[in-house]
């Protein structure tokens, strides 16, 4: 029964394919193309629906953190708010600045939304449920991020607006910088798995990789939040500084497409988090694999919304770059070095003639073998060593942060201005 539910989407798709081939009698190639198109449409529809859900949960979560209620007028608990927003977006007038570069101005939002949708082609949503099982899935995902950069540059430039141009420059400077720790945080996982295929990475996770690579997880979450321009890394559209940056001049659904690009980009990162660090569709066989994946991806979303979006104030431009280059990149490089050594001591997978086989017991299947325990202990110890080295390297910063809190406690009666980090970036 559970097996049937687990494979329900694949069964439906198989029925559809045989309907095209046998009932309609289409030639094989045409049937193949139609089947691929249908897959693409299903994945895109899922993503677009998730975008609607995200706009609602984003407001609700932030509202709860800020002790408000959030949207509560349209429908029960404000559940129809996303629909109301969508209607508003579609009926609004599309304004175009007089001096704008018209063609590029109109293409940019499409360019922003398309790579965010393409993201989901390689995500394994469940067992055997991946639209395109690319062997280089992980690089594909990183490459899509660079297309999004171009879209932001196009929008910012074509608007012919100083704030837009500033926002675009900020956005691209930030995205280029944070791409490096993001990719380096994947390196440890690639070393452990020995594959760039996302499905292989899920299969390899006898232990969720968050337990083997907690430091890489922290680096990934930070870099992913910056890569998608989430607060506190939203200097690219900082409303109070540059009036929403690159999409200042956009209205109606074109603005909606930029929003879609941002939100789906961040849902994509949550999916990557679920796939690479939480064990993807693997889990105890109580519920189907796709439900596991879906739940885990929403845990990722909640982490972004609660731990980042609604908790921290916005960073300054120089602080942002300094944090990336002075802390995240060295930490990620160190993590890669340490992991490369540990992988030789405690391998998690072995490759037999191109087929991946896991070593040690199964943690996520909740089998009671304990083979995963020593491996996890070794990796955790290695991570502890890495963090200790980092703590020694950055003892100055650590001391300064601690001192900051002590001063604040002592002089509670006459609060002084918080110490500003005045170190500027080298010219």
């Amino acid at each position: 029964m559970l097996q049937a539910i687990d494979q329900i989407f694949i069964t439906i798709f198989g029925l559809f394919s045989s309907f095209l081939l046998d009932t309609l009698g289409l030639p094989t190639e045409l049937a193949q193309i139609i089947a691929i198109l249908v897959q693409a449409i299903v994945v895109c529809t899922f993503a677009a629906t998730t975008f609607l859900a995200l706009t609602y949960t984003e407001r609700k979560v932030i509202a709860r953190v800020q002790d408000r209620i959030g949207p509560n007028r349209a429908g029960p608990f404000g559940l129809l708010q996303p629909l109301a927003d969508a209607i508003k977006m579609f009926t609004k007038e599309q304004t175009v600045p007089d001096v704008a570069d018209k063609l590029i101005f109109h293409i940019a939002p499409i360019f922003a939304a398309a790579p965010a949708l393409m993201f989901f082609a390689v995500i394994p949503f469940g067992e055997d449920m991946v639209a395109s099982d690319l062997d280089v899935g992980l690089i594909y995902i990183i490459a899509l991020g660079s297309i999004a950069e171009i879209a932001i540059l196009m929008g910012g430039w074509a608007s012919r607006n100083k704030y837009s141009l500033l926002g675009a420059m900020r956005a691209v400077a930030q995205m280029i910088s944070y791409e490096i720790p993001l990719v380096l945080s994947f390196m440890g996982l690639i070393l452990i798995t020995g594959s760039l295929n996302l499905n292989d990475m899920v299969v390899a996770q006898v232990v969720p990789f968050i337990l083997l690579q907690p430091l890489a997880f922290l680096i990934f979450v930070t870099a992913a939040a910056a890569e998608t321009g989430r607060s506190p890394f939203d200097i690219m559209e900082a409303e109070s500084e540059i009036i929403a940056g690159f999409h200042t001049e956009y209205a109606g659904m074109q603005f909606g497409l930029f929003q879609m690009g941002e939100f789906l980009g961040f849902y994509g990162q949550a999916c990557i988090m679920a796939t690479l660090f939480f064990g993807g569709w693997r889990g105890p066989e109580m519920i189907p694999s796709w439900l596991w994946f879906w739940l885990k991806s929403w845990i990722g979303i909640f982490i972004f919304q609660w731990a980042f979006r609604s908790t921290f104030p916005r960073l300054r431009v120089d602080q942002l770059q300094a944090f990336c280059w002075k802390f995240l990149v060295p930490a990620a490089v160190l993590n890669v070095f340490v992991t490369a050594v540990v992988v030789k001591i405690a391998p998690v997978v072995s490759w037999q003639n191109g087929v991946l086989e896991t070593v040690g017991g199964d943690f996520l299947g909740l089998g009671f073998g304990l083979g995963w325990l020593p491996v996890t202990a070794i990796y955790l110890a290695a991570n502890a060593i890495t963090i200790a080295i980092l703590a020694v390297l950055y003892r100055g910063e650590v001391r300064r942060t601690v001192a900051q809190f002590e001063v604040r406690e002592l002089s509670a009666e006459q609060p002084s201005a918080p110490r500003l980090d005045t170190e500027a970036l080298p010219a």
Binding site: D101, I104, L134, A143, S146, W157, M169, W325, V329, G396
Partner: protein
């Protein structure tokens, strides 16, 4: 004509038109964007040919790094916002054309001499050579490129560490 050929010709047309547009439009920014389109077209051609790894790397390096760097440089250059009425055809274009044709002449013989792997059964979709590529990189024998791979890796690592050292004044 198979579906694969139709797809190939559509993408090839877009790529060639974008490349011609890149060298002929007046605005530098438009030229840079058309260059991005050319790169994306080439990446798509790689995908059609079944080398998904090359296609993805093409997008990552050329679109993500080189094109973005160029657009950044254009934005940081003053006076490029006013491009209307300026022609791209300066006195230098014959020399540029000569240089480009010379490069083509140099490229053609090795292109003709290389035995290209052919996808036999004409199936649609991406076949990956990532594993073979990795094997070739890591092969210390005569057919491998281990030394080149190591040198490149060392160079990139030095560049990365160098950037960190420049950023950290107090280390």
């Amino acid at each position: 004509m198979t579906a694969e050929q139709i797809v190939f010709f559509i993408i090839a047309t877009i790529t060639v038109v974008a490349a011609l547009g890149m060298v002929s439009v007046a605005s530098v920014f438009h030229a840079a964007l058309l260059m991005v389109l050319t790169f994306l077209g080439i990446a798509a051609l790689y995908m059609v040919m079944g080398v998904g790894f090359m296609g993805v790397i093409q997008v990552l390096i050329y679109v993500g790094a080189i094109a973005v760097l160029m657009i950044f440089a254009i934005m940081l250059t003053p006076k490029v916002m006013q491009v209307e009425g300026r022609s791209r055809y300066t006195k230098q274009w014959p020399y540029a054309a000569m240089l480009a044709s010379g490069f083509l002449v140099v490229l053609v013989p090795p292109l003709m001499a290389t035995p290209w792997p052919v996808q036999k059964d004409g199936e649609l979709g991406v076949r990956d050579y990532a594993v073979e590529l990795g094997m070739a990189f890591m092969d210390p024998g005569a057919n491998g490129y281990l030394l080149v791979f190591w040198l490149t890796a060392a160079l990139l690592l030095v560049a990365l560490i160098g950037s960190i050292v420049i950023a950290r004044e107090d280390l």
